[in-house]
Symmetry: C2
Subunit: 416 residues, 2 copies
Amino acid sequence: MAAPAQNLRINGDRLWDSLMEMAKIGPGVAGGNNRQTLTDEDAEGRALFQKWCEDAGCTMGLDQMGNMFARREGTDPEALPVYVGSHLDTQPTGGKYDGVLGVLGGLEVIRTLNDLGIKTRHPIVATNWTNEEGTRYAPAMLSSGVFAGVHAQDWAYDREDAEGKKFGDELQRIGWRGDEEVGARKMHAFFELHIEQGPILEAEGKDIGVVTHGQGLSWTQVTVTGKDAHTGSTPMPMRKNAGLAMARILEKVDEIAWSNAPHAVGAAGHIDVYPNSRNVIPGKVVFTVDFRSPDLDVITDMENRLRVAAEDIVDKMGLQIEFEKVGGFDPVKFDDGCVAAVRDAAERLGFSHTDIISGAGHDACWINRVAPTAMVMCPCVDGLSHNEAEDISKEWAAAGADVLFHAVVETAEIVE
Amino acid sequence: MAAPAQNLRINGDRLWDSLMEMAKIGPGVAGGNNRQTLTDEDAEGRALFQKWCEDAGCTMGLDQMGNMFARREGTDPEALPVYVGSHLDTQPTGGKYDGVLGVLGGLEVIRTLNDLGIKTRHPIVATNWTNEEGTRYAPAMLSSGVFAGVHAQDWAYDREDAEGKKFGDELQRIGWRGDEEVGARKMHAFFELHIEQGPILEAEGKDIGVVTHGQGLSWTQVTVTGKDAHTGSTPMPMRKNAGLAMARILEKVDEIAWSNAPHAVGAAGHIDVYPNSRNVIPGKVVFTVDFRSPDLDVITDMENRLRVAAEDIVDKMGLQIEFEKVGGFDPVKFDDGCVAAVRDAAERLGFSHTDIISGAGHDACWINRVAPTAMVMCPCVDGLSHNEAEDISKEWAAAGADVLFHAVVETAEIVE
């Protein structure tokens, strides 16, 4: 494959201006965005993206999940397209870059090719996946999941938001339900540029993260049952303190994660204590243990060690415990060739870079099941995301898009 | 003082019937009661108590906090009365016995004296203290607190419920604000019969608890601040997990309480985790540590050890911590003479008994500041209270009231 010359760069100012323009749609209350999936604001954002794509000479495809595909033709009618994109929907208190950078980065690849009059053998398709965030309609990455065959389309249509409105009905209502069969498209490769949503790149002073794996995830909801009792009139030996059992289990969760350093992590973000009164010993605690690792065997081992350790803790205290697996997905290993294309691009362009494991889920994690896939990450300030204060610099965005451009265009093959 | 003869007993059936009759006012949803202070149901319960007292030949006094004083005259015009009582108000999901047993037990003392034609040198006054529970108007034991000079009356009147209604206005509205100056009455002694609200008597198979002390209490609200971060994309060494710090502090709370066995206790019943989301490492946790002991030095020492240990834990983790003392009262040592009267009565009547420390607060804890005071406790099933399922047997109630009768009447001195 012919790699682009080192001096080929995207237009960082134009990319930034587009990011700022898109951010005007569905503004948040604190400088970020509230452009949740299948809202009127989502429709408005989609229309702007479509206009920009058509202005760039693309033709827009739309499938039955509302996934958008803006195609720039290649020279070889037989060659499968290289796809590049992410998502335009945001969290209710989301930032301006999570997802949007990857979609507009894909558009910028096409705009730059147009600027330079470069032809590629493979078509290039800038993509917007519907409902990556999963806040309004769980689960996250819903439509890339249907595309990759992970979820059934009917099941996806039946998902309900907090007001009982169904996904399928809302997709129809906003006018972005297409006719195209979901997942029928075949891809030569898929690339996704995304902000890191973690602190590693900034802390290490790296311009680019070359994403080699996606963390696998296991959510175990733990319910410890003791006995509500008065904090004053219950002697220590007669207590069945579910809160204390939880404390001991949380210490074990930390120990188990550290024993699988450096890539495994573990914590409990969700903790509900009942009845949660200052003068009542907790009779019940419900909490969710989040374990992640790029290695499925490690995840399974951590789950098992948690159960054994927690049962031992509650047995000694005379309490009861129940475990429920409430979420999970397997680790992702991205395509060696696509990952190498990203790493080579960063190297060629002179950006500092490091291999990185994505801790969050992304559309690329599902698409990796049906096409050779890789991701490019750029830093974000303080690792902050899913927050209106989410921030990146124009230079970080441009560096990420430059690497995306080179990886995509090398894979799509420049026609000399 | 002349002690009543061993064969003098209260009428256990009548006491039980009165308990059941009072429980019809302000019924709960699960077999208990919702007769919160200064509601229409409270007024109805007061009216029934007044009618019963007047039927027993008493005259009713009413002070400016709504405290009720039903007086049976003594033979000596100079002798101060012996007071006996508790409270008629309940928790929103309260039981039929917490407080009510002590008020109707006081009435049963008077009824039994009437049955037997016994005269006492000291008058006997059956008492209902307003707003012991503190659920609608914090703090608990509000009106006995004003009586004992712990709280100012104006401050008490300004307490607001969740709807913003003031205590003073609601007391006026239900028609139970009296003219009598609060705390002007002088007492020869005060006795309170109460269910244990703990598991000790039932577990030890004792009929009677002779309450020697009230636990002192210290509530320290602890706020640990770390940093919200994604559970997937934040490496273990970069986490500022406030939930894990809380877990470590809770283990210390337990250790500190056990090190002051057997009387000290410690736990956290209130725990709030922020933002409490499965995929966000807790950036903040707020929880309240409840320490109790009958020894003020032990309480102070436990508070200090908590602060030192917790600061050490968060320092090592790079987090911040704040402490706020949000509640407390000093331990109570009841009057030796009154306590002996209770113990002697239990012994004389042939009931099994044990000295016990009250873990909960009671009106007697405040009245002890202004009069010689003691408490009698009877068991309750499973130590359960502040719950509609709160339960005692007719025999337990009768035994408690028998001991109350003997202690009160011995103190009031039978006139032969």
